[in-house]
Amino acid sequence: MSGSQSDERAAVVEARYQMLAARFGDRFDAAAEEKLRADLAKLVDAADALRALPLANGDEPDFVFPPVRRDG
């Protein structure tokens, strides 16, 4: 990972942590903060790994939206 990529990753992790802290910060001590940042980093890394896989516009997600019509 280059320096700029590393900075970007750190910034994304920090932004997500701040989102959690804004909502639940009174629940987190220092150890919790460290664990949460580690958990967030894993998810950020996972998302980055998937962004590296090329997908086309036609690649649909693996679920089907079932429109409903109930007669009677």
């Binding site: 997500r16 989102m19 959690l20 639940f24 629940r27 987190f28 919790a32 664990k35 949460l36 958990d39 967030l40 894993k42 998810l43 890394d45 996972a46 998302a47 790994a49 998937l50 962004r51 896989l53 997908l55 690649d59 649909e60 997600p61 693996d62 679920f63 079932p66």
Partner: protein
């Protein structure tokens, strides 16, 4: 009881059914027998949340009366079983393994429990599980309101999870069969660690209505038994479309062992990743392949190259956070047993919709490729777990080094929704079982069971049982 107690404790469903119909035993005597073992041995293993004595004796008496009158509901009639404590049971607590939810009660039975009741099976216990089915990210065995689940083969080791009590109870002869669930390994791992035959069916094969949801697109229910054949009997009773669970398959399922093959199988052998598997697990797997060689042709296969772990992590984290959003928001998870579980749900709240959808788009590609691969074989075989069960008190990541904690075929199987059967393949360190998984295309459960049954005709691992 006129028969040897050990024989009854570890008898298969078929054998118990024969004993009932021959008059050697009765449903009420069986219920008393297994309730007695659950009462005495269950707490030693931390395997039981709630004994359902009153319901059990009522169901057992009904089964007895029906059979006496000539009304035979089938092979599960009068057979006791345990249900993982994420399955709703009317008026009886359903804790999800979580201390804050110890007294949670639902008004109705889950569909799976109703189907077993309709089949005449007798519910004797709600069985222990890892809290929230492991979805909060536990990393050591003390992660349940019932304490660390103890492996009947070595009580200083855990059972695997999250269907921990189901694994312990069947392995220790406390119930003839149990219902577990799997999102990312929770049937296969306790089945492998406890020496059982455990079936993770195709996604949608068994209704999840009334079962705790961890991850809607990954969760499945399945039977954990002494033999592959028994898993087929239970699956037939449980399978079927349920309008209350829109993910259930429209196709019916019939278990017909009398017309199943016992040889001539074409098996793919997945040897990728075996360098990250414990040596004894590996050796037992190779021995199993040698045994299967007498009933199958085997050829090496390789899986498509995708970051299965990353895809699984994103889907599980986000769906899990959504499923438990209320509990996370209200801070209920702060009362969970494992310290890491008290914080485990928060990160998933930050996964973006686009990230989740990307994971689901890659998943669609994987599923198409994997089905093409699986279609070339009756089944693919691989170790069910990469190691034997770890000692209680040891962090999983620490125990797994230098091997890998994650089993690629299990991750892929759960992502793609294809079924897998775990069967015991031998013993490893500390006297603990090892397991082999037999995986196949969506809808191929009967073929997997046929391969498993053929293997169990060639070996006797499934006949081995721990002592009390």
């Amino acid at each position: 009881m006129s028969t040897n107690d050990d024989h009854v404790s570890f008898a298969t469903i078929r054998e118990l059914g024969r004993m009932i119909r021959s008059g050697e035993t009765t449903p009420t005597r069986l219920a008393e027998h297994f309730l007695g073992r659950l009462e005495t041995i269950g707490p030693e293993l931390n395997a039981v949340v709630t004994l359902t004595r009153e319901r059990a004796m009522r169901e057992a008496q009904l089964a007895e009366d029906e059979l006496a009158s000539g009304y035979d509901r089938g092979p599960l009639h009068g057979i006791p079983y345990g249900a993982k404590d994420l399955l709703a049971t009317a008026g009886i607590p359903t804790s999800w393994g979580a201390e804050p939810l110890r007294e949670q009660i639902f008004a109705d039975d889950a569909t799976a429990v109703k189907k077993l009741r309709d089949a005449g099976a007798v519910l004797v216990a709600k069985l222990a599980m890892i809290e929230m089915a492991g979805g909060m990210g536990y990393n050591q065995p003390v992660a349940s309101l019932t304490g660390a689940p103890r492996n009947p083969w070595n009580r200083e080791s855990w059972t695997g999870g999250s269907s921990s009590g189901s694994g312990a109870a069947v392995a220790a002869g406390l119930v003839p069969f149990a219902i577990g669930s799997e999102t990312g390994g929770s049937i296969l791992s306790p089945s492998s660690y406890c020496g059982l035959s455990g079936l993770r069916p195709s996604y949608g094969r068994i209704s999840r209505h009334g079962a705790m949801a961890l991850c809607w697109t990954l969760d499945k229910l399945g039977p954990m038994c002494h033999t592959a054949d028994d898993t087929g009997i239970v699956l037939q009773a449980l399978a079927g479309y349920d309008p209350a669970d829109g993910s259930t398959l429209q196709q019916t399922y019939r278990y017909e062992p009398e017309i199943a093959r016992s040889s001539g199988f074409r098996l793919g052998v997945l040897r990728q990743g075996l360098d990250l598997v414990q040596p004894e697990v590996n050796a037992n797997f190779e021995a199993a392949c040698t045994a299967l060689g007498s009933v199958a042709t085997l050829e090496n296969v390789e899986l498509p190259d995708y970051p299965y772990g990353d895809i699984y992590t994103l889907i599980l984290s986000s769906e899990g956070a959504a499923a438990f959003e209320d509990l996370i928001e209200r801070g209920v998870i702060s009362g969970l047993t494992a310290p890491e579980d008290r914080l485990g749900g928060y990160a998933g709240l930050t996964v973006t919709a686009v990230e989740y959808l990307r994971a689901m788009r890659v998943r669609r590609r994987i599923n198409d490729e994997v089905d093409a691969l699986l279609s070339r074989y009756d089944a693919i075989v691989h170790p069910a777990t990469n190691t034997v069960a770890s000692p209680i008190g040891v962090n999983f990541d620490l125990f797994a080094k230098p091997w890998s904690r994650r089993n690629t075929l299990t991750s892929l199987g759960n992502l793609s929704g294809f079924p897998a059967l775990s069967v015991m393949s031998g013993f490893g360190e500390r006297g603990l079982p090892t397991g082999m998984q037999i995986a196949g295309r969506v809808g191929s459960e009967s073929t997997l069971i046929a391969v498993g049954s053929a293997y169990q005709q060639l070996t006797d691992w499934h006949d081995q049982h721990p002592s009390d």
